[in-house]
Symmetry: C2
Subunit: 241 residues, 2 copies
DNA sequence: AGTATGATTGCGGGTTCCCGCATATTGGGT
DNA sequence: ACCCAATATGCGGGAACCCGCAATCATACT
């Protein structure tokens, strides 16, 4: 068994290496990549079926890398090892995991033992292991009336990218009014309103901009998500001609 | 000499501890804090004049912590040890460093030797040590016609918070039109325009929202900066009544 | 003083956004 | 087939945004 480690922080990388070797005596080789791009190449070259990887990396983030790694071979097993359980990450991961694939999501704050157990469960037993905290986030965020619908989330990303209602309508194949309806939904769920301390005279907030801020503060959105969305937008723009 | 280490990652913390002890034989005690809040308390209790600290921490980020630490005793020496040289961090730091205070900014990617040298320079020689990469960023971002003015940056933060033009005008004591002028400046410097691939018919971007996105992608803005700005905004809102 | 440069303000217009109201359309569930 | 809830669409109006133009104010340089 070969294991591919993807992690840009040297200290964390060597720690991972150590843990992998300790937890998996059947592991014959450990390959290390320091960013997502390198990971994609090495996974291809060595044809590794077992990957442990960080989500937040400088060059290409873990979600991007995982997407292409899984696209080339959907039965690979990936253990995500991340500092955060932000909704942006959780959503990002659950969107790309192939049907029936075994994967894991463990927080870096977890104890050594938990990491080792997860490694064995996923790589040997072929079972999913999702950190409790992450699982909780997942359920909360996917429950209707609390979390955002996938459709709403999509529109949220679009306004976060700075698109106009009309452009969004065009991109998502909706009428202008529908886009605005969804926006209203989003504003409601994020508790956005035109606040003004005394009466309802002035309105100190621009709803659309405020929604993005609120989403960032609540960690529905983060830099990585924005980066990916921006890339998708670019391809859509060029296709549209 | 006592040294206070502030770092939420255990691996990095113990590495720092090791390096500090190696670089500074005159150091009699090393105190460790795992987040900004704890750092503020420990700095007060132990009255330490020498601090090494990460910028990105969960509970209270390094800039917040440094601000209060310096406010209580401006001649303390702080070495910032960060993963990134994002403009948001650099601006955040240079805004809070007291007049004439010695401080440092070293990237985590730097070699051991560089870190040790910085420790000695700042704590023993009382000299500023700014990583070259950071210094470059600083110069680029403060040069007019390329980087944003402090005034422009202020307004950028305001629209990132989702404020309306009128609210911004009120907050910054400007006329509505001046705010809009500044916004136009910002749009120009960030290369924002109403893009539409073929003619200039539709306009797929909402300038104000797009500016925020662009700023995030360029790392003029990041989560920490937004968090701080949001806190400031809250106090302003309550003061305004 | 004189002038030049740039920031600030006011005005007016065109566009986009936000939303209330009313009318389709869709997709189950019985 | 029927109904119900949720979603999608159209219309219209008030508010906010974007910006060109022009007048005023500030500051610095000769």
């Amino acid at each position: 068994m070969k294991v591919l480690i993807v992690e840009d922080d040297p200290l964390h990388r060597s720690y991972l290496n150590e843990q992998v070797r300790a937890a998996l005596p059947e592991c014959t080789a450990v390959i290390e990549a320091t960013d997502g791009l390198e990971a994609e190449q090495l996974a291809r070259e060595h044809n590794t079926a077992h990957v442990v990887m960080d989500l937040q990396m400088s060059k290409r983030n873990g979600i991007e890398a995982a997407r292409t790694i899984w696209r080339e071979k959907p039965d690979r097993r990936i253990l995500f090892w991340s500092n955060y359980s932000d909704e942006a990450y959780v959503r990002g991961v659950s969107r790309i995991v192939p049907n029936g694939a075994a994967y894991g999501y463990v927080l870096k704050s977890a104890a050594d033992e938990r990491l080792k157990l997860a490694l064995r469960s996923i790589f040997i037993e072929n079972q999913c292991v999702i950190d409790n905290e992450v699982r909780g986030m997942q359920q909360r965020s996917f429950s209707p009336n609390i979390g955002l619908t996938e459709a709403e989330y999509e529109i949220l990303m679009d306004i976060a990218l700075g698109m106009t209602d009309r452009a969004i309508a065009q991109r998502r194949h909706l009428s202008l009014r529908s886009v605005q309806n969804r926006l209203t939904q989003i504003y409601g769920k994020l508790d956005i309103y035109q606040v003004s301390s005394s009466q309802h005279d002035d309105g100190t907030f621009n709803l659309r901009a405020r929604a993005v801020t609120e989403a960032m503060l609540r960690k529905l959105l983060n830099y990585g998500a924005l980066e990916r969305a921006e890339a998708d937008l670019k391809t859509w723009l060029s296709e549209r001609g």
